[in-house]
């Protein structure tokens, strides 16, 4: 039974990844659709990181001692000036650990 569950889950995740790539789907993405899709990466990935930084247990946490908030905002600022993503993440982690211990 567990195998059936696993295989169905695998089909579901594969379906979500493949659905819009299928040639069977008769759909032509025109200029407007392309324009809309241009914003997929920034919009969806922002939707992924923002709740981690600004909320905790489904509550808004904008307390200035919240290490996620402090380090997240520092990382946003740093990412404007530092070209290497790895360095931004590294410095962000340092700020996160420092804030966790001292704030």
């Amino acid at each position: 039974m567990m195998w059936l569950l696993l295989c169905t889950m695998a089909l579901i995740t594969f379906y979500n990844r493949y659905a819009l790539m299928s040639p069977r789907l008769k759909l032509t993405l025109g200029d407007n659709a392309q324009l809309l899709l241009k914003y997929t990466a920034p919009a969806v990935l922002t939707g992924l990181w923002v709740p981690i930084v600004f909320t905790e247990h489904q509550q808004l946490n904008v307390d200035p001692t919240n290490p996620y908030l402090v380090a997240g905002l520092v990382a946003v600022v740093l990412s404007r000036f530092i070209k290497s993503p790895l360095l931004v993440v590294g410095l962000g982690m340092v700020v996160f650990f420092a804030a966790s211990w001292w704030l």
Partner: protein, 238 residues
Amino acid sequence: MTIKSKSEAWSREVTVRAIRDVLPLAIAVIPWGLLAGSLAIESGLTPLQAQCMSLLVFAGAAQLASLNLIQLASPWIAIFSTTFVISSRHLLYSAVYRQEALKLPRLKRYILAFLLTDEMFIVSENYRKETGAFSYGYAVVSGLVFYIVWNIASFAGIVLGGVLGNTDELGFEFAVAAIFIAMVMPGVNNIPVLGAVLVSAGVAIVAELNGLSYGILLAGLSGMTTGFVLEKWRGKSS
């Protein structure tokens, strides 16, 4: 032209670049892989089943959420709908790659879809922005590296069990946030992208506070619509 782009796609340079770009993102999810492996065993899966979950389902957040549901002996329909909702954002990535995928033979299309993750998508999109062209080779190499690291981490979690203890204090969750910040924020350099990011952020927070499971999809679509409208409006006024 086709021949040139084909050889470009598999060049050593592209391969090395893809590995270098995706490796930090893959390393950041190792703790989650460990967790997915150990949680699967705790949930009553056999080691083989636990490994196959990472090999076949290959979706971190969906795996962890469904394992929690399995532990609670939830009905299958709840497990399936949760899996669908959490991984539904991939529908958008899939749409972004539609034009490119339609040019590929079936097997390559399946491979591209199977390896499609947040991490593969963001590095490939940044690479496309930089070079001006989509590279199948880059996408597959980065996706494959991520797949391998995820599965090794899951394997370690299966073998070692819950060695991590309380993961909240170790900053794993922040590492994921920092990576997405570092990958996305440098691209925010005009009004439509700024609008897209701000609206997506607002919707994501409201959705999280209200416990909406499809919050990420909703945030993504709202942000995309905002970017679209602002770009149209800017085009008209200039």
